[in-house]
Subunit: 495 residues, 4 copies
């Protein structure tokens, strides 16, 4: 239910080298990544000499017209971006890719994730005379590259990648090459694919490769970057200080079910998490299992199969409603919820229901859905969450960066159950999550970033540190004190 | 899969009487009916004295702005419309509701379905000096009403309803009342609901009532119309020559799964049809069942449950892609298909698959989806269609009115199986469909209109008759000759 | 100053037959007629078989795009329209040409002027079952034509032209011919031109012919219509009851200075009226003459030449400001006036000024301009109006149809002089106006319609009669009683 | 005729401090400066704490909506800009004012004119790591300010103003003050005004002060800048190396006739130049004088008065046509000219005409107008140009920077006369121009910049030098060799 409860990955990236229809393929690739950002989109293309770009607000179809694509005729290299914008940063000037024209070169750049030391870097750079034109973190890396004393663009890029911190991926385009880079923990994903006609593409998710009929080549791993140019493809490491910690959130609700991250298909992971959830927290006397569309449907079918219960379409999501008007009255606002999501009376009436959702952030959405079901006549609603309690903010590219938003920062499952007026409530365990995903690297959490469930931040906190510690709730503090298994003696991430 | 294979109900209607937020509620009601038409929308409101209206092209959110709604402040009665437009009729002048201002009254009118004698009525009216301003059938009824010698608007309306033929529903608004009317076979649906605060609404589907938190009151039956005014609600019959024949297509793919038509929930009907399909045409050695999103998912879960097979998300529909650009090359066009719908490699690779779809019209979409699955590595694809062979055109409000479009008009299941390159292909039987829906009226087909499967047209053919008989294929003729059970001796509909 | 004081001709017409670039030429012709209407524009084209049209709101450049014109490729016949809309009728449904598709033919129609019996005709037609789709008078003629029992379109048209009353011109297009018609008094103008390549055009003003490099052929006279088709051109009379009475307002401010009406160039007429005004009402001790831009500049140069005074640019009109925002405060509203028109301090400071304007309708604009000049330091302002007192409403296509708007209906020149705070005020005499225009037909007022200055309505009053007589002011009544020279004994127009 | 022949001032500036309606007044001020740029507009406002801005493409009314202005409610300080864009730089990112948000302050900045060392400064800055986001010169000054080691914003600004070269004015807004600056030659104008309510404004022309009912306070002179803040107003010099050289082009056609520059009203100057032209180059046997609208009308009336000839409106400019479509055929393109400008047949037919224009740049427009007049029947056309031969490119803010565009760079008046097919052609002398303007400073050309007529560039050439000398034509070289009076022995500007 990522489109309702306000958890949002910040962006989707795509890049392609040397295809006569580079802009059209980028457009298609971005369409398959549209779930990663609906507030704006853009494409920058190169013909090996010049770089040109177009960008716009809204969904891809609103942001870029067929006429825009026509201007790219004859440009065979491209990068593209779809963007999720946090409130207050919605101007066109923040829409990526950014395109920079210098006296000696042109560069297109776009970015996914969050730089946690951007603010301090920005201030430092401004004190040296740098001028920023957007509120986006993405500009920081361009300034670092241009101020680097390194002799080549590539060496300046690697130097800059070592300076920035957080969870991020970048795509950059010059007249000479296409670059893709991943943070030292591989928190945010980036993959390489190859089209049937031999050209290489990079993308935030494998679904963008599939859409083009291409083949998956490899993930870009922690601390790596890829260079694609007329000589072919080359993957390098810009740092050796890496620890794989892939965002578990990508599996839980960001990524498309047909994408595969680190070898694990997202739908399969979700279905498995539903099965595991059934094992951990069965509901004995239920009549059916329903999932909250769309991101929880896989988990719900897993739960239903494991429990041998019917899986029913008890909630319908209106596929046409992306946005709704601000309604003038409270009555209308409540009805507005039903416009987006409605309970199917004839299915749920008089029934004992297991409602599977992917997560609970603020709790308001869950409360609303339980109410929908009960208004439609459900006898009981047992809520099962296919991820652990969301207790800690994320700073690595998810739009949940304050404790105040998180109901689990302050309330126990029992209290939340009461708040959302469910008959019962249970979460998947952290181990259950890790095992359902099934990555088996010999690093903490077997290669996952589960910071929101454990308070263990693999890439550190930097500019957010002070604010984070100042805002810890009593429940969060107690959790950290009790769950020392997540940390070594120095309070660092458990190995 | 109504959004891909070109089968389209023509419209959705909504009406409300005496609510201070009539325009906002109509907007919400129309949002829940958006699946019935995405080419245009409009609202006409009355304050008991004047009628005013707004309309526009595109999705509701594009057609009507919040500012448009604001102009309706203080107007407590409303009708609204979402429209599916056939090619060539896309101008704003065809967007409904139509609003007529006469010297003695004003009328808003909108319409769902198709009048099969509109062309001859129109010519007749024009010969008498009538002037039409759109290519829409809807104008015909207004001319009939205005030329009627009947003393009241209501009697002129009933007279006019007796003159027009086909499958239709109408909503009309005057300063004095809201009217809703249904054709003499109830081919197209119309329901009455009641809000918690006591106001009455009418709508094409019950989901529009649910969205407003209202209660279902009743279906408007064949040959009935409803009048809602300050005195309350009243249902009348304008003709006694009625035979219930509800369009089976509404259950098969038009209606939303959460709607209930004639007491039968659409999702439940579809699930049941999937189960019945499993009984009639099981696939023995399959690994999983997948549905073609979105309209076939219910049937697929039914098939899976009946066969005790896993139900998997093997095909993903991109929820953001309503329209795609015309692609300049064949290669791009083929990739364009994958943008809308993609197969999940990690799910289907190496598997024997049952692919459940709601219908096959031209066969091109089915062929494409089978190909998608096989390209993704499926070992075998067994196609199961949750409705009978679509052999005959429809003239009652579905956009399939020529034999040439229908693959089943010319090819047997065996031939189609080869064409779509599936391992096997089977359809639900006509009896299976009728029993899955489960309406049990003592009339032909137990109260359903199954003309596309039997060639039996309950409301006749009128203006289409000549063209229909002239274009019958050999296979259609043979079917009609063999299946005399569908007709009585006079060649009329079997009772 | 037609763009400020609210006197507005209602429309401009154009038509062309048999030119491969008919739509482009119509567009250019309409551009030259843009001063006759800025609220909407449209074009209807025919290829000899089909008629198609495009229309839109706003200036021509806003209403019709280059892409719209491209759709007319291959259509060699066209009519076009620019429209002035009175408040409350601004919807797209009122934008002309109207395009009607009947079972037996298609017709495009557009109209300039005002039908004074439209309301009663409309009611009569509606009582017979007719349905109107706009609030425009133009539809009336289409209904009359379609209901006519006449055997041909042309005879039905002439019958209909005899039924309607007022000041009007029409352009109609069928697949067979282009028609242009003029009212029985020739109140509104219509001319025929011939392009260098031999094709005929019709237009509201000669400037539209000049723009295309064509030659003026002839005026369409009172009660005439022209038919242009593949056989050539033919002018006919639909009635013999005609009296030429060309609207003097066309010369005073509607028409473009480069247009010629009835053989008299508009600029030359205005300059002559300025000279005559100088003879009738000289200002002895003035330092300079200034005109109110743009429509009074010709008259001002005439006045200056006759008085041998310098003609100066003492008022500047902002050529970019068509519309201004509604300003939130009174202070801003007053400054808004200066945005449109500003006095040139360095020209007018300390000077005695003759300010020439074309007319005074409400008086508010004149008051404002005198104030502008005095604020800029003018020592004295002597206002000279190049037309007589505007005492009576017009019903023949000028947007001044109520007595209440007319300052001269209630105030004498002396009172108005005080109101506008000028040092002196004088008007051109009715004879001076008639002689300046110089048409010398042996009919009342030598062939002019001067109803607003004399109360003598050559085409009668019809639907307006009751309202007109009920609202006559004391000053109007006194004028009518004294100026019996304008009427014969029966109170009819003086011959 | 600045809107046809491609001579364009680059921009208009406006600024206001401490008025509750600052945005509305800026909007009005910009409307009066719209003639200085129609390709884009913007406003930046401050409430003493934050700066916010809006900008858009097109005319002011297209670029900024009433809703945009509403967002500035409560912001009492503002700067605004209208922009003329040279081809290829039409993106929104070049629309000013630019608004920069730094960690320590925010700055709004806009600019009129051209920096002739911008290219070299830009390269130098980029080599130091600076990143530019537009192709506009305006960014350069912001980078200079931010990199300055000066302790205050004001001292950094003055340092930066000393670094840039050319003809320019700047308006800058911080939360503390409004700044306006003028180049060391005062080539481009900037004035200070005071509203009746006491607030100060700055503007490119006095007409923007008049529009607000304010009083002219003073010109900002060469090398000066003004600071307006809560303490009042203060004018400072940032350099003592100044020589007044006001662009003569401002008088000839850029500025509005009602503006006053350096104490000289533009209309009066133009009228005087027409009189002087009559003295220098009378036409003996002419019937009338006509001006090319709009910028040559003042000069034409001056010529007419001096010769005691009638001043006639022989050419009409279509006030509604800002832009025209690209016409598909040569025939249509030629007719397109007449849409913008048409000759009045009834005025000019059979007449000997003096046609006064402000300048000849490429000659194509003059040729076209002479043709228009002759096609309309003119017997002879004597062209009189109210400025000297336009022989040399301008680099100080006029869009004529290549020799290739200038017909006078290669052709003598006699040759041009033949080219444009006029009966005679004469230009105003350089002395005649200087004396008509009448500034009487004791500096070269009495304080004017007449580089385009003399090849004498008061602010030097810098980045343009090489290109300029490489492209000198034979005629230009000969002129420079003969007219040594314009230079001292070192080849520098004559004192």
């Amino acid at each position: 239910m990522y489109d309702i409860h306000g958890l949002n990955e910040e962006c989707g990236l795509f890049g392609i080298w040397n295809h006569t229809e580079s802009a059209h393929l980028t457009y298609m690739g971005l369409q398959s990544l549209q779930h990663r950002g609906q507030e704006g989109a853009g494409i920058v293309c190169s013909n090996g000499q010049n770089l040109i770009g177009e960008r716009g607000l809204g969904l891809l179809t609103e942001a870029l017209s067929q006429q825009d694509l026509a201007t790219f005729q004859g440009y065979q290299h491209a990068i593209g971006h779809v963007r999720y914008a946090t409130s207050g940063n919605k101007g066109i000037e923040n829409i990526q890719p950014f395109l920079y024209h210098f006296y000696d070169m042109s560069v297109g750049v776009c970015h996914n994730g969050n730089l946690i030391n951007a603010q301090s870097l920005r201030k430092e750079l401004e004190q040296q005379g740098a001028i920023f034109h957007s509120s986006s973190d993405t500009e920081v890396i361009m300034h670092l590259i241009r101020r680097s004393k390194q002799p080549t663009f590539e060496s300046a890029l690697t130097e800059s990648l070592c300076t920035i911190k957080g969870g991020f991926t970048f795509a950059l385009l010059t007249k000479d090459a296409l670059y893709g880079a991943v943070d030292p923990n591989a928190i945010r994903p980036l993959v390489v694919g190859k089209l049937q006609t031999g050209e290489y593409v990079i993308a935030s998710e494998t679904c963008a490769i599939d859409v083009l009929g291409g083949e998956f080549v490899r993930d870009i791993h922690a601390g790596e970057y890829v260079v694609i140019n007329d000589d072919g493809i080359r993957v390098e490491s810009y740092t050796t200080e890496t620890t794989t910690a892939i965002s578990a959130m990508e599996y839980i609700y960001f990524a498309r079910p047909d994408s595969t991250i680190a070898g694990k298909n997202v739908h399969a992971v979700r279905k498995m998490s539903g099965k595991r959830l059934a094992e951990e927290s069965p509901v004995e006397d239920a009549d059916m299992v329903i999932g909250v569309p769309n991101s929880s449907l896989s988990a719900a079918t897993g739960y239903a199969e494991a429990m041998n219960l019917p899986y029913e379409m008890g909630l319908i999501k209106n596929q046409y409603v992306a946005r709704t008007f601000i309604q003038p009255t409270q009555e209308l606002r409540e009805q507005g919820v039903r416009v987006k999501l409605s309970a199917v009376k004839d299915i749920v009436h008089g029934k004992n229901i297991v409602m599977v959702d992917d997560s609970i952030v603020r709790g308001t959405t869950s409360k609303r859905i339980v109410r929908l079901l009960k208004d439609a006549g459900a006898k009981s609603v047992h809520v099962r969450i296919a991820s652990p309690e969301f207790m800690f903010p994320s700073f690595y590219g998810i739009d949940v960066s304050t404790t105040a938003e998180l109901i689990s920062a302050n309330k126990s499952p029992e209290e939340i159950k009461d708040y959302i007026e469910a008959e019962s409530l249970a979460y998947l365990s952290v181990d259950g999550l890790i095992e359902s995903i099934g990555i088996d690297e010999d690093v903490p959490y077997h290669g996952l970033c589960v910071e929101s469930f454990t308070g263990d931040y693999p890439a550190g906190l930097y500019d957010y540190e002070e604010r984070y510690f100042a805002s810890l709730s009593e429940r969060q503090k107690a959790f950290l004190a009790q769950n020392t298994q997540y940390f070594d003696k120095a309070g660092n991430q458990y190995v």
